[in-house]
């Protein structure tokens, strides 16, 4: 029995907006499924249908073998949820939030244990209105973990978390998965999905454009990174030398930067090649294949097409991208 089975779901909102178009999706029991897509792709709409917050125009969905609409309460009894765009009860403490979830699921657990697991036990008796976004996110995760759910549905779980918090979130997800919990989570950040997912579904404009294991996905997009090396003055021999390094797929010059698209090559060898040819390396930065490029691979026939159209000015490392969210 699949943990989630979405069958031909179409959702049209009033005003003719089609959020989902004939979506088919299967999440197997016990796996971590990454639901990937840019903002507005329909990820939250899908999750809202699984939780019966909204009703599909066509098609149906089952969660843990139960109809998402008809048996919604039974579904939510066995599922832990971290919704998007939620809001905590500002006047209630963290402990009261978790206690409410415990009362609602009638599990008789101790709020401290759950708050401990997400690492905010020291803030248990503070009003949640004073929590940072990251703490609120942990609090709601604690509520989701109440009753040891069979399935976790997490909508953008890393929102508002710093890199440490995002790592911690991944650790908790992994740990729950090790205990046998199926995890379905959405993200628009490739790295977060890449780090822990068994399988990934890519949603684009309300349609599933790819569904694959992480390995296959990686193979399709290559190891996927761009190395931007800032030098005093780029020379033709240096560029040629880089081009000859095995695993480099593309080299171009942009002002004082040499931009290297790597499929599978050693950074050190590239830097050496540049220095050996009389250029002084002043700075360098790596950028992993972005989600946009991944989409390009699946929807527009290759990341190169996109890459050529844009100037690679973004050179921050991926952890910085995460931190700024």
């Amino acid at each position: 029995m699949p943990a989630i089975d979405v069958d031909g779901v179409t959702k049209r909102f009033g005003g003719g907006v089609t959020a989902l178009q004939d979506l088919n999706l299967t999440v197997k029991e016990g796996e971590i499924y990454g639901f990937l897509g840019p903002n507005g792709a329909g990820k939250s709409t899908t999750i809202n249908i699984l939780l019966d917050f909204i009703r599909p125009t066509e098609g149906s969905a089952t969660v843990l073998g139960m109809d998402a609409q008809a048996d919604s309460k039974a579904v939510r009894r066995r599922v832990g949820v971290l919704p998007d765009a939620y809001h905590v009860y500002e006047r209630l403490t963290g402990r009261q939030h978790v206690q409410f979830a415990i009362d609602s699921k009638e599990t008789g657990e101790r709020p401290e244990d759950l708050l401990n697991r997400v690492g905010i036990s020291e803030a248990a008796d503070r009003k949640a209105g004073g929590y940072s976004k990251g703490m609120a996110q942990r609090l709601v995760l604690a509520m989701a973990l109440v009753g040891d759910p069979d399935l976790l549905i997490l909508d953008e779980p890393s929102t508002g978390l710093d890199p440490n918090g995002a790592r911690e979130m991944r650790r908790i997800i992994q740990q729950e998965n090790d205990r046998g919990t199926t995890v379905f989570f959405s993200s628009h950040i490739l790295e977060q999905v890449e780090a822990i997912c068994d399988r990934v579904g890519i949603l684009h404009n309300g349609e599933l454009v790819a569904e694959d294991s992480m390995e296959n996905l990686r193979a399709n997009i290559g190891s996927g990174s761009t190395l931007t090396v800032t030098v005093d003055e780029p020379t033709e021999p240096a560029v040629e030398a880089v081009r000859d390094v095995p695993g480099v797929s593309e080299v171009s010059v942009d002002g004082t930067s040499i931009v290297v698209v790597i499929s599978d090559a050693s950074k050190t060898r590239i830097l050496e090649a540049i220095e050996e040819n009389g250029c002084e390396v002043r700075d360098f930065a790596t950028e992993k294949a972005s989600l946009e490029e991944l989409f390009a691979t699946y929807t527009e026939g290759g990341r190169d097409g996109l890459r050529n159209g844009t100037t690679p000015t973004a050179t921050q490392d991926t952890t910085e991208t995460e931190a700024r969210r």
Binding site: L51, P83, A85, Y86, H87, Y89, S104
Partner: protein, 273 residues
Amino acid sequence: MSWGAVARKDFSDAVRVRWFWALGALFVVFAGGGAYLYAEFFSAFGETTGIGFIGFLSAATGILVPVIGLVLGYKTIAGERESGSLKLLLSLPHTRGEVVAGKLVGRSAVVSIAILVGYLVALVVGLALFAEFSVVDFLTFTGLSVLLACAWIGISLGLSTATGSTSRAAVFAFGFWLVVQFLWDIVVTLLVWAVNGFSLEALGNLPDWALFLSVIMPNSAFSNANGIVADSLGATGQSTPWFTEPWFGLLVLVAWVVVPVGLGYLRFRNADL
């Protein structure tokens, strides 16, 4: 019970607001102070009685309680929908019906406690100062006041559930209050006038259907239901058909608790959140 968890949560959320204590204080001043004033002034005109005081308090209750009921209720569901806390609530195993029921119970408990505290003070003052005072009568009246409060909670919660936006719920609630408090009798009178060929003669003695229209409003129902406490408090006039009896007033009040919430739920049940 699932709605029980929602009600408890809603109650403990509401009592943490400063205005909850202000509300309690308001009722203490209003009812306790009212009892004191009644004893001071009316003793000059004759014996102070419990029934006399209830009549005095009933008129004031009919003004204060609806406003409080509306203010307490209009944000309940719409506010949670706007802010997104409803998603937390519905991520847990509650049906939408249980959420609405829990809110109704939680909010009703909040206003009931404020009323009970205030009227209990009035009870003590009355026992101390009035020449004659029946505790049973006063508790019955207190119960009816709580029911009136619940009716107005029902109305505002129903609007809040149906509209999904606090500003719209507020506008509808205020509009409804204006109609009930000030305009309804005029509307009924105009109807009678129009039905009778725009003749003023018919206005002296309202036909039964017009009387019926006026007793189905929550505040008229409340004052008619007060007839349970003493005949003199209920409906008086030349014509007193069956639907001006206290029991019917009680029934109408209960309907105002349940029907608006039920209608609001019917819209909420199928809404995309």
